[in-house]
Symmetry: C2
Subunit: 332 residues, 2 copies
């Protein structure tokens, strides 16, 4: 059973989840699946995962059988569990509550693919459709306040299984990073009456130095103050606060833009390990004039270490203008 | 030339330092020093570093010559430079300023030692003395607002050279993590009239479940809401806000407590990679009744990945009560 604990000084939230120590390759132990052991995410091995929550099937096959294109299952070692009874344990100093939430895994290909950019645009659009479906479904659960869709690709980016997959965690609170963005965007809106993300899009398209691609519906760019070398954000050009409200026209365009961006990153940097996540509006809020959903890609070529952990600031040895130039030219 | 850049949405500070890309093993490239190349931190190789800033010498030898016990040199690839002229470049949206600051390296042994716990208590006390001396010296520079002393030990914790060393960065602002601690401690003090760290010490000593060691002057404990497995904090029992004001009696006691703590971590976890840092009061402030200096040790057995980067919350698969028990029993 996991629990949320709050640091009494900073309010930082930690999920203490002891059962996760049983995961393959947790805690520096080398992957304890023997190389011959079957991959639980490959089609045909559906029995190796918990029963599926949802799948995109091109043919009318039964759940937990092959012939799916994207498959969503509960995390076998969940950080949070939906059916946990809510309970709080607080003595006015140390505060904890039960680990109520959801923790799903989106398996992004039936084949043993290890790099998302290897997928065709059609399959990648199916993957975006799965994100959209699951975030939409969890959004309506009143127990949850925030949904975080994230990916770890590559050992050095924290992936414990190499078959491409993303994860979706539903939290009963709005976490610090999201709260910080929302608060900054709100302040900017109050001062200027404008969405700060819309202003960034306008400015990046006008200046061009940090722009990676400019499609009909999305742009990708290296942000002005990136934490990591080659950090790249993907954002819809038309103002939209909630990813889950994307239309059937948005998803293929999102798939194309993501494919183009990842192909550039993989070509320029030789398939680097990376993390990405979608930041969308907290579930309790509806249309927002000041927030704008987006996806942040963080290549993990060097790692956040003592300075970053101790300060909360970052040292980045690649200027975003240089990174964007390399990514723009990568497919020439 | 490096610069500070501020993210316009969250205010997150980034140091963009392109010259650092030339470091050995930066950006995932394997250490490009050949194995036969001399280590720049070993005694006898003083000419391979920039001229020393300070050294503890047991014999009256000349600077930049052997027979030192701890040696402090400028970082060869500094993130910040002290002599940079201060200048700010802001268009009211994107804000940057010159990378003014200091970036020093404390070489912690004249011999090619790769684990801090291998040092004897006397040498470790000399190392603490070097931290104390350099932080004290930089504290009086009015250009700086915050000093961060930090260590990366082991490749997986971000060390680019294996010979034990720490780094000291002086910043012209109080960074987010320090600001968050100060603000939380200040709020607690206003509400209760007490230092929150003193309360934590009292409580951890009374409960004992998260206590690792209880020396005459210091305790080590696993904090209630730890970001990482086996995270351990070391803190003086008597209220003191500023590490640099430690007395000649404190430093040997600090050396003994750190030695005991690291010996337990290394024994229990088989010399894990780790980061540590000292959090002390910002330089502009003097005696503070609400803040309390301390050292945080963060073993890097699993890494912060997509969830942590996207949310600012952490998933930790080892409860601090279990971690503390293992560390308490490690030397039995």
């Amino acid at each position: 059973m996991s629990e949320f604990r709050k640091d009494p000084i900073t309010g930082r939230q930690v999920i203490v989840a002891p059962h996760r120590a049983q995961r393959p390759r947790e805690l520096g132990v080398t992957n304890n699946r023997s190389p011959a052991a079957p991959c639980p995410f490959c089609a045909g091995n559906e029995a190796l995962t918990p029963p599926e929550i949802w799948a995109m099937r091109k043919a009318p096959t039964q759940p937990n059988n092959p012939r799916w294109s994207v498959r969503v299952v509960p995390n076998k070692y969940p950080a949070l569990i939906q059916s946990n009874p809510w309970s709080r344990n607080s003595d006015s100093f140390y505060d904890s509550q039960n680990g109520v939430g959801a923790h799903e895994v989106i398996v992004e290909s039936p084949d043993h693919v290890t790099s998302l950019s290897a997928l065709g645009v059609e399959q990648l659009t199916d993957v975006m459709g799965a994100y959209h479906q699951r975030m939409g479904a969890l959004r309506s659960d009143p127990d949850f306040r925030y949904l975080l869709l994230y990916k770890n690709q590559g050992d050095r980016a924290g992936a414990t299984l190499e078959h491409i997959h993303s994860q979706l965690i539903a939290l009963p609170f709005v976490p610090a990073e999201a709260a910080s963005e929302l608060s900054g965007a709100d302040t900017h809106y109050k001062l200027t009456g404008r969405c700060i993300y819309c202003e960034i899009i306008e400015r990046e398209r006008r200046e061009g130095t940090r722009l990676v691609l400019d499609h009909e519906m999305f742009i990708a760019f290296c942000p002005y103050a990136p934490r990591f070398a080659y950090e790249t954000w993907l954002i819809p050009k038309i103002h939209a606060a909630i990813f889950e409200e994307s239309t059937q026209r948005d998803l293929p365009a999102f798939g194309r833009a993501l494919h183009d961006t990842l192909a550039r990153i993989d070509k320029a940097l030789d398939d680097p390990p990376f993390n990405y996540f979608i930041h969308s509006l907290p579930t309790a809020l509806t249309a927002s004039p000041h927030y704008h959903w987006h996806l942040e890609i963080l290549p993990q070529l060097s790692r956040a270490a003592g300075f970053e952990l101790g300060s909360g600031a970052y040292i980045n040895s690649v200027a975003p203008e240089d990174a964007a130039r390399l990514l723009r030219d990568a497919l020439l």
